[in-house]
């Protein structure tokens, strides 16, 4: 790889590609089996001459990992980028679990987190005591129940399997 003055479009593309590759190895701090690229947190990488700009989108407004992710992304990119690295935040379009890569969903399940179902596009939800069939990542049973809409992190809910009795986290559709 060429490190140094990257002044041609081809060199800029190579720089961006190197940064994307590096970001693909940055794991989510709370869910270390999926990368921030697979989670759809990295929206774009643009390299122009010696400067690369990484655009991230935050998941939940209050997610405490947001700052760590931005720092990790900056560090990873700085190791391979030809020059300066800037990390900027884009709020729009709002992050959605629909952006999570399919390969990542299987890895979430293997890690013990049930992957998110389809995002609900409905508007105002007042009372919805509906049952959502979520599969247990341990035994695969669809007979599961929600313990709490919230969990250890803003993105997860707590569930329990009725068949194997194991509790598990569910990545909420967002």
């Amino acid at each position: 790889m060429v490190i140094g003055a990257a002044s041609s479009p081809a060199a800029s593309r190579a720089g961006a590609a190197a940064v994307w590759h590096a970001l693909g190895a940055v794991m989510d701090p709370e869910i270390p089996v999926v990368s921030i690229v697979e989670l759809g947190i990295v929206r774009s990488v643009a390299c122009v001459r010696d400067a690369c700009t990484i655009t991230l989108t935050p998941t939940y407004s209050g997610c405490p990992a947001t700052r760590v992710i931005a720092q990790d992304a900056r560090d990873a990119a700085a190791a391979v980028a030809p020059g300066r690295v800037d990390v900027v935040t884009a709020l729009s379009p709002a992050w959605s679990t629909a952006w999570i890569a399919p390969e990542a969903r299987a890895r979430l399940a293997a890690f013990g987190i049930a992957p998110p179902g389809r995002s609900d596009a409905s508007t105002v939800a007042v009372v919805t005591l509906r049952a959502r069939p979520i599969r247990c990542p341990q035994c695969g049973s669809a007979r599961t129940e929600e313990l709490s809409r919230f969990g250890a992190t803003p993105c997860k809910a707590q569930y329990r399997c009725i068949d194997c009795r194991e509790p598990f986290d569910y990545f909420k559709p967002h």
Binding site: Y60, S61, L91, A94, V124, V126
Partner: protein, 258 residues
């Protein structure tokens, strides 16, 4: 327009900050572990949203005041009279029914207001609101479920829930006021028209209270729906005490850096 926009953003930010601080008071004291986690997660979402509103407010302030204050300056170094939150959200936690009633009555307005703000003519407001709206949908789903569980629960939970709704009802009118700060912003398509949110709010609340076997309060006198309420900086005695606790550390060590 910018000074008005700054005021408006503070109203949105302060609602979230004050309610987040109130919910944080439940940490380690929730009635069950899952609710301890739920309340504080909702508070965390609100704190994140407050930060987004404060960050934008600081940028807007810079346009007319030369310098825009940081999120921390706005949160920790303003006095009580400069806070612009609704009276409803600064009310004390009380028992869990009081907290749930306060949460639901606010969540129901919040989700409608954010829905309207997602179409704001101001792109930044629309982006923040669209993001926050997704989170607040979960909030209103949870709080409405708890109103029903507690209302249609035991004799004790029912009585406490009814008392809570009755006590907080007089603060709800403030959510639907539109004053001189907001009127031009509403006309410009920037701010949400609070008056237009009253009917859908009432319809939703009526439905939830009915399912909760709770009586709809008939009290029409609305604290804060008159000339001055929390939005204009006229607060109840509870806010200054809450702010004293919230602001004491940065005020004691103003040069401290994390």
């Amino acid at each position: 327009m910018n000074p008005r926009l700054f005021e408006y953003l503070l109203r949105l930010a302060d609602n979230d900050l004050v309610l987040a601080q109130r919910l944080g008071e439940w940490v380690g004291k929730g009635p069950v572990l899952e609710e301890d986690i739920a309340s504080t997660n909702v508070g965390l979402d609100l704190l994140g949203q407050a930060r987004l509103w404060f960050a934008y407010a600081g940028e807007v302030e810079a346009r007319f005041a030369g310098r825009g204050r940081s999120e921390d300056e706005l949160a920790f170094f303003r006095e009580e009279k400069d806070f612009r939150n609704l009276l409803l959200v600064e009310q004390p936690n009380g028992n869990y029914a009081d907290t749930i009633a306060r949460q639901y009555l606010f969540d129901q307005w919040h989700v409608l207001a954010l829905g309207a703000l997602s179409a704001s003519a101001d792109a930044r407001i629309a982006a923040i609101a669209a993001k926050a709206h997704k989170e607040v949908r979960y909030h209103v789903e949870r709080s409405s479920q708890w109103v029903i569980r507690l209302g249609d629960g035991t004799d004790v939970s029912h009585a406490r829930m009814q008392d809570a709704i009755d006590a907080l009802w007089m603060y709800t009118g403030e959510m639907f006021t539109v004053d001189a700060v907001e009127r031009p912003l509403v006309e410009a398509g920037v701010a949400a028209d609070n008056a237009a949110l009253a009917a859908p709010w009432h319809a939703a609340v009526r439905s939830v209270l009915a399912q909760a076997a709770l009586a709809l309060p008939t009290d029409t006198w609305m604290q804060g729906a008159h000339a001055r309420g929390g939005k204009q900086g006229a607060h109840s005695e509870f806010l200054s005490r809450m702010l004293a606790e919230m602001q004491v550390l940065p005020r004691t060590y103003p040069q401290a850096r994390w």
